[in-house]
Structures are given as C-alpha cells and as structure tokens.
Symmetry: C2
Subunit: 359 residues, 2 copies
DNA sequence: TTGTAAGCGTTATCAT
DNA sequence: ATGATAACGCTTACAA
C-alpha cells in the first residue's frame, strides 16, 4: 500500500494525501476526511525510507552510551534517563535508538560512526555521561552533526544538560558537617567522568570552607557499581582513623557501602553516616534509608532530547547549556531522624527544604 | 557526496560503485581498487534511506522490551542480553535499535507499532521475555513480520531461543535436596512471564519427585527486582515454619533475599540456604557467594539475532526453536564449601561439573 | 565485467 | 486548496 493508491482510492492526488499524512493545514475539510478514512481502512502507513530520502530527515535520534561507562548501564540511573528521553521522543514523534560505542578497536568504532552518522541513520545524537576526553565529541563538532551531552564538558563549547554537581555535592557535605561530623571521607566515581570530578570538587570545597583537611586515606574511587561501593567502604573502614561520615558519589555505590558497613558489624548512621547521590527511591531495600542528593534524572533525559531537537531545527544556533535543579533528601543514613522531622512540619519533605535553604 | 560523484571520480558507472560498496564479486581488481581509493579519500558513505528504499532492507533490527517488564530493565540480565545481541549485529553489519513498548494506552502502542513495523523502520524484531499473552506476538505473526522471542512461548508456534528453565530449576532444587534440606521455599518471578512459570514448575517437580509437599506459605512471588527479593524473603522468614532453603528465580532477587537474611540477624547457609538463577558473577558483592543456575545470557541475545536474521532471509521457513545449555555454579550460599571442593579437584569449576552430573 | 535505465515511495516546488 | 513533476540517492534487472 502506498501513497499513490490512497490517492486513487480517495480521488485526490498524491500530494494531497501527503499533506494529510503530514498534518499540513492547507487541505479542505472534505478532502482530509476522505483521505483519512481511506487511510484507516487500508491501514496505510508511510514508508520510513522513502520519507527520509525525500525529506532528508529520519525522525530518529540516537542515544550513545560510551563503552567507557559500560558498567554504568546496569545502574538504574541509566534506565530513568532513557525513559525520560523516550517519553520526550514519543511526544515529538521521534524514535530513539540506543547506540553502543562498541569500539573493539578504533577501526570498528569508525565503522559504526560512519554508518550511523555519515549514513544518516539518525538526525542527531544524545551522548550520555561525558568523559574528559571524548574523541566522539570532537568529531561530531567538526562534522557539524547535531548532538547534545548529558553532563557538561568544560573542554568544548558544546550543548549539554546537567545538574550543578559541584554545588549539590557541596551542600550534601555541608549537611554532614552540620551534623557535627568532622572526619568525612568520600567514595568517588570514575575519575574520567566529569560528573565524578565535579562531585569530588564539591566535597573538597565544603571541607575546605570549614577549614578541614582532605585526607587522601579516606578518599577512594569506585566505578559507580554496587560492588565498587562495597569495596571502597571496606577500605575506608580499615583506615587507621575511620571516617565518621562518607559522601558517596552515587546511590548505587552507597548501597554497596551500606552493606559493607553491616558486614563489618557496624551500622549507619550510628557508627558511620552515609550520604548518596542520585535519588533512586525505588531501589531502597532496607534500613537505614539513604539520605541523598536528588537529581531529576528523567528530566535530564527529556531536556537533552528537547535541546537536541532544537539543534536539529537550527544547527547553526549557539550551543545551549542548561542546568536542572537538585535538592537534598534527608533520611536516616546521615543521622537525620526523618520521621520526627516530618511530623513536626507536617510534610515528609518539609525538613529537607528547610535545611536546604539553610546551607 | 553520493554514488554518482564517486563514479565520476573513479571513471566508472554508478552500478560499479554500488557493486564495490556492497562487496559484489563481479568487479575487476582494477576497478575495485580505484573505486575504493576514491571512497577512502572522499570519505563517502552511502545514504541509509536511499539504500533502504531501493533494496527494501533497512539492515536494522529492533529489540523490543515489553513495558510489562519495565522494572526488569535495571536487571543486569538485560544488559548482558543486549550486549550479546549488539555484538552479533555488528558482525552481521546490522544495527540494533532498542524499542520501548511505551504503551500508555493501546492507541499509543498502536502508533509505535505502525511507525516501526508498517513504516519498515526495522527488518525484524527480537522480543525480550515473552509473557503468557502477548498481543504483539499475535499481531506480528498475522502480519507475517519476522520476529523471534527470547523465551519460549507455548501458546504460539513461533521462533524463540531459550534455556530449559524447568529442567534447570529442577536440578537446582534437587541439589538443595541433596544437601538434606527438606523444607524448601521459593521466591518466584512475575507470574505472567513464562520463564517464571517454568522455573516454578521445576521447583514443584523436584519437590514432588521426592514426595515432598509444596507449601504455599513458603512460596512468594517477586518481580525480579532486588527489593522484591528482600521483601519476599522477609515474608518467608516470618512464616510459621521457616524454610531451611529457598530457591530464588533470579540472582538479583536472591541478592535482596540475602540481605533480608542478614537484616534478620541470620546467615546463609547456616540458618537458611539460598539458590539463585542467572549466573551474574560480576554483581556478587559479599559473602556468602551465591550458588546459582548459570544461563548463557549473552549467547541468548546473540542466538536470537542469528535466528532472526535467518528468518529475515527466508520468512517462509518454519519457526526455529533453540535451547541453550545451563549448569549449576555451586558456591557457598547453598551449603557447599566451594574452596574446599575446588582444592580437592584442582580447579575452581571442578566440583560443579561433578555435582551437575550427579543430579 | 560493465553500463543503462527503471524503479523504490515519499516530499517539495511550482503552477494552477 | 490542489495537482503535476522533479528530485531524493541508491539497487537491480537487463543489455551489452
């Protein structure tokens, strides 16, 4: 079934059918009605390839997962991000296709790149989790291909959406400091990710503002996996002088960290307080409930798509850089007695706002 | 840059260039060499839309994640499956695009379906985790569109790749029985998934073979999430007569279950043995190490793609149904002293083979 | 082995 | 508002 036949059946020209299909307003009520009913009956649907060829638009965008963060893909963070992006795509009548930077060798990477980008399989791409040095970014920019990063990239003047990781982390650590903890350690994310670097900088900033030392002995890097959080916490617990509190760069790692604490026969926050980052509510499995920096993950995905769609419309426009808000969710793992705080203020989230403003 | 220009630059016709690009052997050495060098220089890459339009092939296949198992997407199982599928696609020079059954309403679902399938965005699709009643399956079959399921579907005569969930689960439970446990409970997966049903059937089968009762009080359903495993185990632990061992339908749920055991001040396998399903090695975080049914997840993804590609070649061929092997990985959570067993036999996996054959 | 020419199913540009 | 008609960039008989 093709346009031509629909045209014949409804007694109009191909062009008119095309107009109806594409929602062009310059069609008479009658013509539109007739064409639409024929389309319904015949269950016609326009051929994507022909459309793309003629319009030079695929209406497909890619979501690129750098293989550098392969392990991260099991992080629920990723799922929420994808879901946000997909929802936004649906609204815009775009398709979202997941691209894996399968980069076995550079050559292979190249083949994929050529195929997808040069072959015009997609109109633009969203790159998840920008790393410090990303050859893909350089290349896309050189080729003038529309793209947007989830996560800022200070080295290039490109479009991105992000949260202020530094400020958010600083607030989280300041909160721990308000609790009276002085010896605070941190479990960082992979050091090639800008988000990790920023979160660490926020931690360092808060400590220094209070005139406290940053002790390398209680600074450990993980890779955002639960296992790495577990191992990192083991290291921290065996430090000569164990930290009173730990700021962890992701909830998933914090989950592993909490388990390490339990396994050591200790408990949070009594023996050691823990603060996470992400705000993955559904993944909470048991006590203590994790206090964490909440970032709007789904919204990040959706915004990234929006920005990308704009860039596709006007490729020459200046890069867009957008920051979304975060807030602290104070529960039990940092030492806050959430139930208590909530009952005082009448709303479960009340305490958090107060404290947030105080920092 | 298009075919035409390459043709001009290398002094041949468009057809010859096309032949070179597509690896057609009917091209002289010289012509091929010349064309290839021009392609290199100009960094030409054929336009995907034009190609699809002319060849009626997109060289893209879709991987459909039913929204019914949305939560499952954070399960590492899923990542490994996707990775296997992507690798296979790369080899075949196909692209893999992730499709989300965003089905807010049926209408919406329909729009996506039309767009992707009827619009010929993909040549075929792999459907992950078949559910008992899947309207998508019925529809694809009716439309004669190539597809393959990951997970058997007894209600329709369709192509699929799977493991023998029933037999594998039966073996796992028989192993628990060999340990001497008699009161064995189970944490099932979602009951609309065929894999869950089969695994439960395997559990029931093993129990009945030994003349043991299946007590509903120690049979709890989860949803494959870690949290659900945690909650399910809490229920089991509070049963009037607590089980001595539990067969859990996924490693991720088993991880939650182990945590529930620890939180209750108990430990596995001393107070209660646990057996998982999947074989997610990298996700192991602490003691006890989970004993589990290992299924070749990546291979399932790769096989599914292979089968699909065959069906795309010959759509009229009879459905292909392929089963991959599983085996038990015996560690500490079921009561096996793995270290000991390994040192006796000289290889870490030795004990497992022995025991597997014994069952 | 190579070239010619006819599509592939749309969109887009003009007239009308 | 509608309809011809020319692209869009490639594949694929068929002819040579």
């Amino acid at each position: 079934m093709k346009l031509e036949e629909i045209a014949k059946l409804s007694g109009v020209s191909r062009s008119t059918v095309s107009r109806v299909v594409n929602g062009d307003p310059h069609v008479s009520k009658q013509a539109r009605a007739r064409v639409q009913s024929v389309i319904e009956e015949t269950k016609f649907y326009p051929n994507a390839a022909a459309r793309s060829l003629a319009s030079r638009r695929t209406r497909v965008i890619g979501l690129l997962i750098p293989k550098a963060i392969g392990s991260v893909m099991t992080d629920p963070f990723f799922l929420y991000l994808v879901q946000g992006a997909v929802a936004e795509c649906n609204d815009a009548d775009y398709l979202l296709t997941l691209l894996f930077d399968h980069q076995v060798e550079d050559l292979d990477n190249d083949r994929i790149y050529q195929r997808i980008i040069k072959g015009r399989h997609v109109d633009g791409i969203v790159i998840v989790s920008s790393v410090v040095e990303d050859p893909m970014v350089v290349r896309l920019q050189k080729d003038g291909f529309p793209f947007v990063l989830v996560g800022r990239n200070p080295k290039h003047d490109v479009s991105f959406v992000d949260v202020d990781n530094l400020a958010a982390s600083r607030k989280a650590v300041l909160h721990l400091l308000e609790h009276g903890y002085r010896r605070i350690g941190t479990i960082m994310g992979p050091q090639n990710l800008i988000a990790s670097i920023d979160r660490y900088a926020g931690y360092v900033g808060a400590m220094q503002e209070m005139g406290l030392p940053v002790d390398k002995e209680i600074t450990v890097a993980g890779d955002f996996s639960r296992r790495s959080g577990y191992r990192a916490m083991k290291v921290l617990l065996s430090a000569d002088h164990r930290p009173e509190a730990v700021f962890v760069a992701s909830d998933t790692m914090a989950s592993g960290a909490l388990q390490a604490i339990r396994d050591a026969g200790l408990s949070a926050p009594q023996n050691i307080a823990v603060f996470g980052f992400d705000g993955l509510e559904h993944e909470q499995v048991s006590q203590p409930i994790l206090s964490t920096v909440v970032q709007p993950i789904g919204a990040l995905g959706a915004e990234a798509v929006q920005v990308l769609l704009n860039r596709i419309e006007s490729p020459e426009s200046a890069p867009v850089q957008r920051y979304l808000d975060t807030h602290l969710r104070l529960r039990t793992s940092c030492g806050c007695d959430h139930i208590h705080a909530a009952s005082i203020r009448g709303s479960p989230e009340g305490g958090e706002t107060q404290l947030l403003q105080a920092t």
